[in-house]
Symmetry: none
């Protein structure tokens, strides 16, 4: 990958990590549009040029932050899929406000940054497929309890509803949230592992 060769400074550099952290913080707090060399540097307590020393272009930085977020998501999903009630754990994952808000920022960013879009697309696709693979295995015949559902569709549906709720909460909208959660709840119960 191109950015790999351009990477400056040890993978493990503390400064590098500091910059990535500061950027993620800023995105979380103020949205992706707030990202600029100066602001990132200020937040990290560094000089702007040092940011460019580690990340020659802003794209390089943002893709790296995206990558970190993706790694974290991957870990969370694996944990969820390995839990007792994988489906409910997955739903909790989709409802994780801070993570979803961050993901939405990267979605928006992807519209304007081809490099980010590429990475997000790859990761989203991989994530969905990983979920399908495990869900198919875990749910087995249970999925038939939800008429019309299949694992791939279920993954997208849960993700979409989760994102909508988080997005609207950020906006300050509330109507329908409890009801939507209730709908999902009904599904989760139907699909819950047999307790026998």
């Amino acid at each position: 990958m191109a950015s790999a060769t351009r990477r400056v400074g040890a993978e493990t550099s503390a400064t590098r990590a500091l910059i990535i952290d500061a950027t993620a913080q800023l995105i979380r707090e103020q949205g992706y549009a707030a990202i600029s060399t100066r602001r990132v540097a200020a937040r990290a307590g560094l000089k702007p040029s040092l940011v460019h020393y580690y990340f020659p272009t802003t794209d390089d930085l943002l893709v790296e932050v995206s990558r970190h977020g993706a790694d974290q998501s991957d870990r969370m999903i694996e944990e969820a899929l390995a839990s007792d009630d994988p489906l409910r754990a997955l739903w909790d994952f989709f409802m994780d406000t801070s993570r979803t808000a961050m993901a939405l920022e990267f979605m928006a960013m992807a519209n304007h940054r081809e490099a980010v879009r590429r990475h997000m697309a790859e990761h989203s696709e991989a994530m969905r497929q990983r979920q399908v693979e495990i869900l198919r295995h875990i749910l087995g015949k249970r999925i038939e309890r939800l008429e019309g559902f299949d694992p791939a569709g279920l993954s997208l549906v849960l993700a979409g509803i989760g994102r909508a709720i988080v997005m609207e909460e950020g906006l300050g909208v509330k109507t329908g949230h409890a009801e939507a959660r209730q709908i999902v709840e009904t599904w989760l119960e139907k699909l819950a592992p047999d307790q026998s």
Copy 2:
């Protein structure tokens, strides 16, 4: 409202409309981050200062564009809710790529522009409530055919799934889309008006 007092130029000016249109076009094509007085002016074939003449601040302009988009959505929703198969019409509305993409841009914008956020929140809430009101009336007892669903939840669920599909399509992700549409299809059929 502050922007009301600041508004310059007749509400009905053709130039005003031109500016709003140009802005909407730009947002649709290049995302909200591409908005700047200069670019809007260039697209509209006007001088930058004229944009400021009509919209003293960029916020004023964006809120106005948001308002226009909202009005259009309102009209589309009323049409949908008045159609033969309101639920399917509503789903088509949620799946309208261009409108949804635009709505997502405004969501992202809302993070950084308090004025836009306020307007988006008000409108989203109103839109949802209007849907609930009509759906409750239209669906009547039919909603019970979908176990666990209620009109408010249904509205959010459809919106969320629609947005997710459009968002992911923009990204280039495909897995699960057909399956998710199939899930919704099952619901729509169950809730379709009795043909008797």
Copy 3:
């Protein structure tokens, strides 16, 4: 021409002229590599952003300065070609240190700036052809007094020798200059209008 549409500010603006002058001065004194928005602005006593207001890109500015220099050259050449001894006047033109030095800067600049290269090429070609046209008319049969010469070749030869002398003088080289001038002198005398 593209830059025409991009031109901001009245053609006749005093500020515009000020910027062009300042740029020409800087090139003359410090070479083209010394040109930067900041330096031009400082020399003109203006703010850097004002330079960009009049000349959106540095290329726009440099092409404009090149154009001004070309206009001046044109006037000088027309004057020379209209004089009593056009050939000697042309030679004096080629030996004009300040103008030639400036032309050399633009030649160097042309290597790195396509827009400048284009303009320089057009103008040089036109200038040469104008000289050929007039020389052919003026010299008539006299050119035969210099065996092997023809007007087009003569134009290039004089230009080349002139440039070389000016260039080397700038460098601090002296050997051969007087002798080269003597060679040209011999030609000029042979070609001088008959005194009869």
Copy 4:
């Protein structure tokens, strides 16, 4: 000389040669304005700091590259002057596009870099004098066949015409080139060694 004391690393280091080569290449391809520690390092496949290790300042590097080019020119000239038809060989040397283009870059550079200017001046002067010395010896009385010419003047005239042609070719100008070459051709023939 300052640069002598500042020079670090063995005169004969392969890395040193690599850097000088890379710099020369870059100048040839992109002009001297494209030279920067980073770009040179990238081209040479080295780390930027290593360039500074060998050449503490950019001036040091450029003077060295200039010196190498000069050495090469010297060798080419000695070869030319030792050939059967030294004058024609000299003319071929002046018409060598790549070398002349490079020389012009150094001329332009000399305007802004005193160290380079000094070196260029010394070398040009020496080169001219060496040519005069040999031409005087070689041409002997033959020079009288060209009325008004003398070896020093001839050297400058050939150099000037050659440079002008190469310079204009780079620009894309063509008028008069063939004719100027013809003029020189006439001289060369007149001065060719007697075949008797």
